[in-house]
Symmetry: C2
C-alpha cells in the first residue's frame, strides 16, 4: 500500500531527535540527548493541588470540562501579562496574548500566518531543530545567518535580508537551543531595528530565559520593538512542566488575531485543565520560588558537565559556557563525525545529539549538543568520560 502525501509532508520522515528518543528507554544509557527538565524540578504537589481546587469548585469544574475560548482562559492571560514585565515587555492587553499548547505551537502558527511556499526564513546557524522541520512542512526554506557569542552577525543578517527578502527571522535570544548562547542587548536592539526597517516579522523564542544560573538578565528583544514587528513566544515547559503543554505568544493584536484563527483550525483551544491549573499555580505564587529551587539543581549539573568536559575531552574540543538554559554546544576536532560516532557512543551507553541537524544546511559534522538537565552530576561525569575517551580514540586512530 502506498499513499500520495502532500508535497510538504511527503519528504518528511520524523525528526532525528524524536527517533533517537525511542532508543533511550534503557536506564543504563546516560542521556545528554534530550531537553527534559529534571525529575526533581517537576512541581507535582503544587499542580496536583491546583487541579484538585478546580474540581472542588463546581463552577470552575464545569468551566474546565466545557468548551473554552480559542485565545485561552482570561486569568492565565492576565498572569502572563504580569510575567512579561520581568523581561521588559510592557503595555500589553489581553488582545496581545494567545495561549498555546506549548511554545512550538506558536512557531507553527506563526509560519502558517506569514509564510507562503518557497518563502525564505532566516535563522541562527545552528538553531532549534524543530523549527527547521516546521519550516519544511510549509514548503518554505530556512537559511542560516552567522551567529556568535553575542547574537547574530548583524552584517551577515542585513546582507541576507537584502539579498533574499525573507518573510521572517527566527531567534532564540536567551540560552539558545542548541548553543546555550545569549544575544546581547545591543544585538537585540539592532535586530528589532532591522525588522522594523525591512518590515519583517521577527520571532523571539524564549523558553529558557528564566533558567539563569549566573550573569545579568538581558531585556527581551521584544522590549526594543517600536513597530509591532516582533512576536515573543515562550513556554512553561522548562519552568513548570512540559507534559501538560502550556505556552504563549505575545504580539501586535492583528498578529495575535491571525494566530487565533490558525489555532481555531487545529486544536480549537488548549486544554482548559492545563490552562486553569497553570493560572492557579501562578496566582498562588508558586512560580518564582519553584524556579529559585530549580536553579541550583541545574547550575550544579551544568558545572559538573563543564568540569567533566575540561577533564575528559581532547585538547582541541571547544564548548560554550552558557549562563543558563539546558544545553552546552561542543565542537570537536575536524576528524570527528558525530553522526558516524553516535552508534558507538550508544554502545558505550552515552547519548547526545549530532550537531549537523541544527544547521539549516546540514553542516557542523564535528559538532554536538549536550543536555545536562536530566542526569545527576555523577552520571554526567561518567557519560562525558565515555564520550571523551571515544573522541580521543577516534582522533588517535585517524592522525
Amino acid at each position: 500500500m502506498s499513499f500520495t502525501f502532500s508535497d510538504a509532508l511527503a519528504p518528511m520522515n520524523g525528526s532525528a531527535t524524536r527517533n533517537i528518543f525511542k532508543l533511550l528507554g534503557r536506564p543504563e544509557i546516560i542521556s545528554f540527548a534530550g531537553g527534559m527538565p529534571a525529575r526533581d524540578c517537576l512541581p507535582v504537589k503544587e499542580i496536583a493541588q491546583c487541579c484538585a481546587e478546580i474540581f472542588a469548585d463546581p463552577a470552575e469544574a464545569i468551566r474546565c470540562l466545557q468548551y473554552g475560548a480559542t485565545e485561552g482562559v482570561p486569568e492565565l492571560r492576565e498572569e502572563i501579562i504580569k510575567l512579561a514585565g520581568d523581561v521588559g515587555i510592557t503595555g500589553l492587553g489581553h488582545e496581545n496574548v494567545q495561549i498555546l499548547s506549548g511554545g512550538s505551537q506558536g512557531l507553527d502558527l506563526l509560519l502558517k500566518a506569514f509564510v507562503n511556499p518557497g518563502d525564505i526564513v532566516l535563522v541562527e546557524d545552528p538553531t532549534f531543530l524543530g523549527f527547521l522541520s516546521t519550516v519544511r512542512s510549509y514548503s518554505a526554506r530556512a537559511l542560516g545567518v552567522r551567529t556568535g557569542d553575542g547574537g547574530f552577525d548583524l552584517e551577515d543578517l542585513e546582507a541576507k535580508i537584502k539579498k533574499y527578502r525573507p518573510k521572517l527571522i527566527y531567534a532564540i535570544t536567551t540560552f539558545s537551543n542548541p548553543t546555550g548562547r545569549t544575544h546581547s542587548a545591543a544585538n537585540r536592539k539592532a535586530q528589532a531595528e532591522l525588522a522594523s526597517k525591512y518590515k519583517l516579522i521577527l520571532i523571539e523564542d524564549d523558553p529558557y530565559g528564566r533558567l539563569r544560573y549566573e550573569g545579568t538578565p538581558v531585556p527581551a528583544l521584544k522590549s526594543f520593538d517600536q513597530t509591532g514587528q516582533v512576536v515573543y513566544v515562550s513556554s512553561f515547559s522548562k519552568t513548570i512542566s512540559p507534559g501538560i503543554r502550556a505556552g504563549f505568544a505575545l504580539g501586535h493584536e492583528d498578529i495575535i488575531r491571525k494566530l487565533n484563527i490558525g489555532k481555531q483550525g487545529t486544536d480549537l483551544h488548549s486544554s482548559n485543565l492545563t490552562m486553569m491549573a497553570v493560572a492557579r499555580y501562578l496566582q498562588k505564587g508558586y512560580f518564582y520560588p519553584h524556579i529559585e529551587k530549580s536553579i541550583p539543581v541545574y547550575r550544579g549539573r551544568k558545572n559538573a558537565m563543564m568540569e567533566a568536559l575540561g577533564r575528559y575531552m581532547p585538547g582541541e574540543f571547544r564548548f560554550t559556557n552558557p549562563e543558563g538554559g539546558l544545553f552546552i554546544w561542543g565542537e570537536a576536532d575536524a576528524k570527528i563525525d558525530t553522526q558516524e560516532l553516535f552508534s558507538e557512543a550508544m554502545a558505550r551507553n552515552a547519548a547526545y545529539i549530532q550537531g549537523s541537524v541544527f544547521f539549516a544546511n546540514g553542516m557542523g559534522a564535528n559538532t554536538l549538543r549536550l543536555n545536562f538537565s536530566n542526569e545527576s552530576p555523577e552520571r554526567i561525569d561518567a557519560g562525558i568520560r565515555v564520550l571523551g575517551d571515544l573522541f580521543k580514540e577516534t582522533i588517535a586512530a585517524r592522525y
Copy 2:
C-alpha cells in the same frame, strides 16, 4: 500598522460561529447556536478522581508532567483500540492509533498530510463549518456533493470524483453536523469502494455516533475499508469533555506516521494529564454508564425540540428527525433569509446558526442549524416559539 499575512490565512477572519459565541454570554439568550454538551453530562467527579489518582502515584505523576511521546500514552491507545470494536473497526495495533488534542486536530493534520494548494476536497453539502475553514487554510477548495437522508448521492459523488480528481473525501457518517443525518450501511460500503477504486483518502469523522437516542447502530464506514484508504477520526468531546481536548485518529500505519510527523511540528504531543485522565476514566469503566446516563437527557431535549418545531413553526418549515447527535437541521420557506433574521432573533433572545455557512458554496440562505443539547426542555420550547413567531411574521410580511 499592517502586516502581510500568508496567502492562505490573509483572507481568513475567524469563523462565523466563533464570532457568534461571543454574543451568547447573556443568560437570557436561549441558544441553539453551539454544540456544547449539557452541563449535567460533564463527569466532574470521575475526571477529578482520575486526576487525583495520577498525582497520588509518584511514578505516574512524573510521567504526567514530563515530556511524552507524540503518538500518545500507550494505555489510552489501548483503550481506544477496544472502543473501536464497538463500531466494527477491528485488527488495530498501537501503530494504527494517533491521539489528538480533539478531533478537529485530526482533520487539520490529515489536510496537512495529503492536500496541496489548489487541490479539491469533496464534502457533504452541508458539512462541518470548521472543516471548510481548515480546507481554506491549506489553500485547497471544498466542493459539495449532494447529500440526503442515507448519505451521499453516489452518482453525484462518483461523477465529481471523475471530473475533479479530488485528493480526499470528508464525511460525518453518523448524526452529521449540521444535519443530524446518518449514512446507511450500503452507502458507507459504496463510499469505501469508491475510495479504494479511485485511490482517494476518505476521512470518516464520527464525534457524535455514541449519542444514539433511537434506531439501530450502523457499523463505521472504516469497517468496510479493505485497502486502508479510510481514516477514522473521533473525539471524547461529546461523550466525556470538550474542554480537556481529547480525540484520536485510526488508520493505516503509514498515514498515522505522517499524522505523527505533522503533530510533532505543532503541539509535539497532547497534554499527558488529559490523555492519562481519559485513559483511567475508560479503564475504570466510567465511559459506558456515563453515556447511558447522558442519552435520556439528550433524548428528552431532542424530543422537546421536535415537538416545539411541530407546534410553532409555519407549515412549510421542514426539519430532520435525527436518531442521535446534537443537531436538527431546518429548512424554512424560500422567503426566509436566516442570516438576515439573525439579529432580530437575538433581539428576541433566541440564537441559531444560519445554514449557509455549512455549504461549500454558501447556498442554503433559508436553512438553519438548531442545537438542542445545552438548553432545558422548557427553554427549548420557549426559544423555538420565538423563532416560529419570527418566521411566521416574516413570511406574512413578504407574501
